[in-house]
């Protein structure tokens, strides 16, 4: 009898975990973005924002172009794109622009994007935008992560020149970690310093991490 009961408990647990497992958002990506990012510094050595250039994959680019009119077929001017670019940056706000910054462990917030526009080349759409920090910050350690917590979008940084520092103070060291670079490198810079619960999610496993240490 006990045995039967035990098995029943097991079954109930199975049923529960089936549904719970279904509840956690472990989507697979539907959109692929090839990213290039720049960290912008002011003359006093504080970081003022992040400038992104995100190139969408073939399929998503085509999807986004659906219904967009252009004078010349297959070629679009920046003006023809401006409503779409507007839609893009507005939608991105809901997701925190997929950009998560911490200065000395403290979370930094971003303002609305500025200087945003789209261009279209080789059937791929690229969204350019600059995210100003709410308050420019000077910090010894800066971590900027780019990822989609739900992993609906797979962010991959460009093979060449994925990240650049723009007018950063001399002596600042930048390290860029791709999601598959493993834990070894991350440990070196003291992962514990950036420990915080609210980043704990599935997509974080696929995070791209930019780390800057300044004297």
């Amino acid at each position: 009898m006990n045995n039967a009961l035990r098995r029943l408990v097991g079954l109930v647990l199975l049923a529960g975990s089936l549904v719970l497992g279904a509840g956690t958002a472990q989507a697979h990506p539907h959109v692929w973005i090839t990213a290039m990012s720049e960290l912008i510094y002011a003359s006093d050595g504080s970081i003022t924002g992040v400038r992104h250039a995100w190139t969408f994959d073939d399929m998503y680019s085509t999807f986004a172009l659906q219904g967009i009119e252009s004078k010349i077929k297959g070629a679009y001017t920046r003006e023809e794109f401006s409503p779409l670019a507007q839609t893009n940056v507005e939608s991105l706000q809901e997701f925190g622009f997929f950009t998560f910054a911490r200065a000395d462990g403290k979370r930094q917030n971003f303002e609305q994007p500025v200087d945003y526009f789209l261009d279209y080349k080789d059937t791929m759409l690229t969204l350019h935008f600059t995210l100003p920090l709410k308050a420019p910050v000077k910090s010894k350690q800066l971590v900027v992560q780019v990822y989609d917590p739900e992993f609906f979008i797979d962010f991959k940084f460009a093979d060449d020149d994925p990240v650049a520092l723009v007018s950063a103070p001399a002596g600042c060291q930048m390290q860029f970690l791709r999601p598959n670079d493993g834990a070894a490198n991350a440990q070196k810079l003291g992962e514990g310093n950036f420990a915080n619960g609210d980043n704990s999610n599935f997509g974080a496993l696929f995070a791209n991490k930019i780390m800057v240490e300044c004297p």
């Binding site: 089936l18 472990q26 697979h28 659906q66 739900e150 493993g182 995070a207």
Partner: protein
């Protein structure tokens, strides 16, 4: 049995990865690469999905590429549904709560997948093909349907809880004899709605000691499809974001028909996986019934409890999705 073992491993694997993800920023970080079965499923899906755009492009000049597209879509469908998702959770819970047969589970899986494909094709045909609407408009339509579908799941769950709650309370009150009312209870839940308490005592005497489960004929009765239809609607109304992307892409390449074919083949693959999971759920419930039947009289109470819990899960699931506590695959809006 092998299938159920696979299902258990899958779920445990997913759970383990969730836990690991949780600790990722707290303690020592596990390797960033997602391994295990879930990781493997994810990478397979991504591969198949990414091959689709190239294959559709190729099909413009080479007709045989369409066959490749269909093969990829089928594989994608199978893998896509093997990952966690709300559709199969709702179907499985419904089957457990409502004492449905495995055969009906399979039929429901296929019907809801077919409906999902139809909705995806309808959205793209109307929005993109007929109206030449923008992605923003399509995404708006997707989001509206999404909310409607979560509402439907919650309503569906609430109805299950209501009807199952009656059986559960009945079982609590008369622990010795409820097994006998089993079949009766069930039939009336659906035919007369909330009137079951009234009929309960009445037939209890008549049927005492007769059957332990619903008669197969009763389940497959004329009301059967009506009941199943709400399950199909609930699960099938929400299209897969991936299908919509593929359809729009195919339309832009002048191969809308290939996109439609791919969508239905994708649905076929999805249906196969969901059907397997549904059969596992039904088998687990039947096993529980057999095990609990050995207990003196209390077995029915155990079964009522399981059914009630499954009904509750559907409701919680709908509410969780509706209120944003649970995240499902999101609509393609950027």
């Amino acid at each position: 049995m092998a299938a159920s073992v696979l299902a258990v491993v899958l779920v445990l694997d997913a759970a383990a990865h969730d836990l690991m993800a949780q600790s990722a920023f707290g303690g020592p970080r596990p390797d960033s690469q997602v391994g295990g079965i879930v990781g493997w499923l994810l990478s397979r899906q991504s591969e198949f999905y990414r091959q689709m755009s190239a294959t559709i492009r190729a099909a413009r000049s080479d007709g045989t590429a369409v066959w490749t597209l269909l093969a990829i879509s089928f594989a994608y469908g199978i893998f896509h549904a093997a990952g966690p998702g709300h559709g199969k959770a709702v179907i499985s819970s419904y089957l457990v709560a409502n004492q449905e047969t495995a055969r009906r589970g399979i039929a429901l899986s296929f019907a809801s997948a077919l409906m999902q494909s139809l909705v995806a094709v309808a959205i793209v045909a109307v929005c993109a093909w007929l109206l030449n609407a923008t992605a923003k408009t399509m995404c708006g339509a997707e989001k509206a349907i999404e909310i409607a579908s979560y509402g439907l799941i919650a309503a569906f769950g609430a109805r299950l809880v209501w009807t199952k709650g009656g059986g559960f309370i009945g079982a609590l009150q008369t622990p010795g004899a409820v097994a006998a009312t089993h079949s009766h209870d069930h039939g009336h839940d659906h035919d007369h709605g909330h009137g079951q308490d009234h009929h309960h005592d009445h037939v209890h005497d008549e049927l005492c000691g007769h059957s332990h489960g619903p008669e197969p004929a009763e389940l497959a009765g004329p009301r059967g499809w009506q009941r199943g239809l709400s399950a199909i609607l609930t699960v099938g109304i929400r299209p897969c974001s991936g299908a919509i992307l593929v359809l729009v892409f195919a339309l832009a390449q002048g191969l809308f028909w290939a996109g439609i074919a791919a969508t239905f083949v994708m649905g076929l693959g999805t249906a196969i996986t969901v059907a397997i999971i549904a059969v596992v759920a039904v088998s687990a419930r039947d096993l529980a019934r057999r095990l609990s039947a050995a207990r003196d009289g209390g077995g029915a109470l155990v079964m009522r409890r399981i059914e009630f819990a499954a009904a509750g899960l559907v409701l919680l699931f709908g509410l969780g999705l509706l209120l944003g506590y649970l995240a499902a695959e999101r609509a393609t809006c950027l």
